[in-house]
Subunit: 431 residues, 3 copies
DNA sequence: ATCGTTCTAGAATATTCGCAC
DNA sequence: TGTGCGAATATTCTAGAACGA
């Protein structure tokens, strides 16, 4: 696409006329004055050979001063034109070898290699680092030709991004005043004449952050897993706690029941004692004296009957237990309900009550005893040789140790001992 | 502080002469040639009105091209001077992006609002979108003034990044030839005259990192909440555990107490049995002395038989205990091992067994009674109406159910059944 | 440290000759050329009064242009010398007002406020920000007078450290080529003429990033610690739960055992009752057949009385249950309720007391027995060795305490007391 | 121990390229 | 085909880190 530029003698057949912006004005004296008159910036497409574009007009000389982007066109100044043309050509041609080397590295290497810019930037003597001789002029005059800025800071930032490090000189440190002196940067793959190493210069991707990131992410994952496991564990513990709680409540119920049974037994035993002792007293009072068998009439049938009756009753009350667990208390609750079993089966206590009626009511007892005594004197009470000593001797006879009735394991075990046993067991369990 | 500038015809009373650097030179033709000669950049102090400084010299015309900073001063070029002056003034007055609105949005809004650029970019009629009229000239002439490029593509990319969308026109689509025509973009917060909406225009962040970031923060929040809940749950569980533990200790105490009571009862019963049986035994012993052993059934084998029977029972119970625990008592298990203490001292139950031999074994009992009766006629045995049957009938008479003495809830329930009951209760509790 | 400077007529006895670099060159014409020739920068120790150092040489005039650090020495230029001397003096004097304001802030404010440096650095029009007009010259000419460097980067770094922010101007963006233009910084407490605000300008400790980073890291750490603690707590809870579970199983076994023992006792008691009562019943039945109802006491009132008694007891127990629960059983309570039924019927224990009166009180018993013996000679009582006295003595022999039959802890303990005991125990456990 | 200087890195925005629908 | 977007690079402002005074 051509462009006819007013005030310019001739015609430049280049892509775009972009104007006079960002014109690169190299040191020129009064002689340059006229050149400025017809300065043009022309966009050069990447497909164009800059060299070709430079000579599109008979009387113009194109100078590309902004690599890959602009051309400066000036009429009839061959010497300057030639200089600029060569300068640009180098840059363009070198930049064309488009490998995977980042643009910054390519530009930098071009800059440093280019002898025309040695005034501002050049290789060190060893060729493994480069120097920026005049920072200020380099920034303001060289940088904008290659980059979209003229800040040394941005240039240095890019150097750092690509892994270049500043070369610190001892002598520089000593002579502090030389702070305006040349700065030196190096990179292991940035060597004089070795452009094949450039492809090893990689941009420092923000690895710091991802590194930090992944660590955190791993932490988070671990933490989340941990919390999840804790949660599930707690669910388990919770369920077990609830189970234990209910079991404990049941235990309390059981114990309550046992206590009541114990009371009943105790009452029963009490009354047995009364019953046993009463005839003694009654006899003592009435002075009864007869001898005759009491328990059996010699047919041996009674015990069986008792056993049968027992079994029957078992079945009945077994069902009552079921009904108790299944329905009655079913309205129920997480909490312990102690059922007064005696009230569920009032007849259970009847024997006791009968015993009470027999044993407690003096009149009745007396009467019973009176009757008994009157009717039949009991031989076993008459017998004079029915002593405890004899009983015990019988026990010895039969190898019976009556002292063993006293359960030593049990009777001597205190609560503390029980607890101690518990701990022993638990300790054993933990081993 | 004034400054007399050599080579400049006249005198500019401004603060600082900063040199020729970075002069902004807009398109000028041959006529401009002479003007360059006397171009100056003059610092304008912040306390000065740039406009006022423009006319500090009689023969100079000041042009402020850098807001707050520079003035271009040129003699006798009123037309250019006027143009630049206005241009700069607008910039000075309008631009001062002090909010958090991104630079691109501010620049864009300035561009569109600016009447001087209406030739290239302007609001639509409705004021809710903007048009780029001459894409090529806009890109090459306007864009580089505001951005570091002159590419329409980059401009559009930025538009897209900030959420602007191209406005598609039906007629445009139909008339394909009009592709060189104006392009139109819109954004819900980009309206004519409403610069207060601009702050809502957000850059479409690359979802890569911020997403990862927010996820992390959310994760952290979730984790914290989770841990907190776990903590509070644990406090609850802890309290419940402590309660349960104390309850269990109480249960142990209760059971210990009950065991002791049981032992007392057992002792009492033992003594009752002794007390009751003693006379019988004594008589028996006496009879032994007098006649012959009664319980021996004549061959002296009975006692041994009783003992054997007892031993059998011990073995049975021992094995049952083992099967219950799964291992021998000597082995260590995690669970509490309840030792059946009766098995440790078999003789403990001997009195009871003797009673059993007397009461339960029909033959034995009968025999015993018979013997007793034979040897020494006991009144209560001699009496034919003193049978268990009669006793029971008396019970009926008094409404007494002797079967109730046998607590079926208890006697028939095995440990397994108890566990089963436990499970029933627990299941009920979980409903 | 003395230093002989070539070209300088005389000798300067100052600390360090730092060279000619970074000389502050104010607008000079040709006349200044010769002055520069002999310019020197001399390090002045901080302990020296700059003014004193200024006159170390006879024909020299020292000018400290680097506050606290350097001296410019030039021969025979009194006017310039005087000017610089005053300039430095002001700075030094201002810097002396050492409040808690950091040196950098003081220097900066001095720099900006000082009208002599307005050429390079000055307040903005509004007075709430400052401008650096010519970055390059400012860095090389002004900075070394106040700081130990001449790098704009270091200056900007310090600005950032103290919270200054760059002010972005659209106009700057527009005129991209003029990047060498002024930079502007602002701080909320850095205002023209308001040096009292300076003390609010604090150095940014490296809390910014740590703020973001460490907060997260701290969060992570806290979370991890929390999760760890939860974990360990859960281990503990788990162990305790397992212990409790084992204890509970043991309790169940204990209770099962107790129940079986209870059954055995009950059976034993039943059989004892059968054994004891049978002859009585037989006699009674026989007598019933023969004569008349025995228990009626002749008026037929006994059965009814028995029933009443039973009913009474039922009522009592019922009410006790109610009072215990506070409501009927139909209501559900949270707590375990153990009903000790024996307490509600104190008379129940009377037989035991009677037994005590018979068995325990030796005198009474003896007397009773004696009476019995006297009134009606009982065979087993007649026997001198088969007396209750002997029985009791045997009991003593066996370590039997018949008082223990009456378990006061049990019979008199109400449910409330049990609960109270539980609480006491629990409280004790918590101490 | 804080402050200052220097080198390097982070973070956000900007520019370019290329792909996909 | 071109619009929208991802991705890589570039530019700018700010912050981190090491070291010395």
């Amino acid at each position: 696409m051509g462009s006819s530029i007013p005030g310019v003698e001739g015609h430049v057949n280049c892509d775009v006329l972009v104007g006079y912006k960002a014109v690169y004005r190299v040191c020129f004296g009064m002689a340059m004055f006229f050149l400025l008159f017809s300065l043009l910036m022309i966009k050069v497409t990447s497909s164009q050979d800059p060299r070709a574009a430079l000579h599109n007009g008979a009387r113009f000389v194109c100078k590309q001063l902004r690599v890959d982007s602009y051309l400066f066109i000036q009429p009839s100044k061959p010497n300057l034109t030639h200089f600029l043309s060569d300068c640009v050509y180098r840059s363009v041609c070198k930049m064309r070898r488009s490998s995977n080397v980042p643009a910054f590295v390519t530009k930098l290497w071009t800059l440093v290699e280019d002898g025309d810019t040695n005034e501002f930037i050049c290789w060190s003597q060893e060729g493994n680092s480069f120097l920026v001789l005049d920072e200020q002029r380099f920034a303001k005059e060289i940088l904008p030709k290659f980059f979209k800025h003229n800040n040394m800071a941005s240039f240095i930032r890019q150097l750092n991004v690509y892994g270049f490090r500043k070369v610190m000189h001892i002598d520089k440190v000593i002579v502090k005043q030389e702070q305006g002196g040349p700065v030196e940067f190096q990179h292991p793959y940035f060597k004089h004449g070795q452009d094949d190493l450039l492809e090893n210069i990689k941009r420092k991707v923000s690895n710091a952050r991802p590194e930090e990131n992944k660590v955190r992410q791993e932490d988070l994952t671990k933490i989340l897993a941990s919390v999840q496991s804790v949660h599930s564990k707690q669910e388990n513990i919770d369920a077990r706690l609830a189970t234990l709680k209910r079991e404990n409540e049941s235990l309390w119920r059981e114990i309550s029941e046992l206590r009541q049974k114990h009371v009943h037994q105790q009452q029963l035993i009490k009354k047995l004692i009364q019953f046993i002792v009463t005839p003694v007293q009654n006899k003592h009072i009435l002075n009864l004296k007869r001898k005759r068998p009491i328990l059996m009439n010699g047919n041996g049938k009674k015990p069986k009957y008792i056993h049968e009756m027992y079994d029957d009753k078992v079945c009945v009350e077994q069902s009552s237990v079921n009904s108790l667990n299944g329905t009655k208390n079913s309205e129920i609750s997480d909490d312990v309900i102690i059922c007064d079993l005696t009230e569920n089966d009032p007849e259970v206590t009847d024997p006791v009550k009968m015993m009470n009626s027999i044993l407690n009511e003096n009149g009745a007892i007396s009467q019973n005893i009176i009757l008994l005594g009157k009717l039949e004197p009991m031989d076993h009470l008459d017998s004079t040789d029915c002593s405890l000593e004899d009983w015990l001797s019988i026990g010895e006879h039969f190898g019976i140790d009556f002292d063993a009735l006293e359960d030593p394991n049990f009777s001597t075990e205190t609560y503390e001992e029980i607890l101690h046993d518990k701990e022993n067991l638990l300790n054993m369990g933990q081993r």
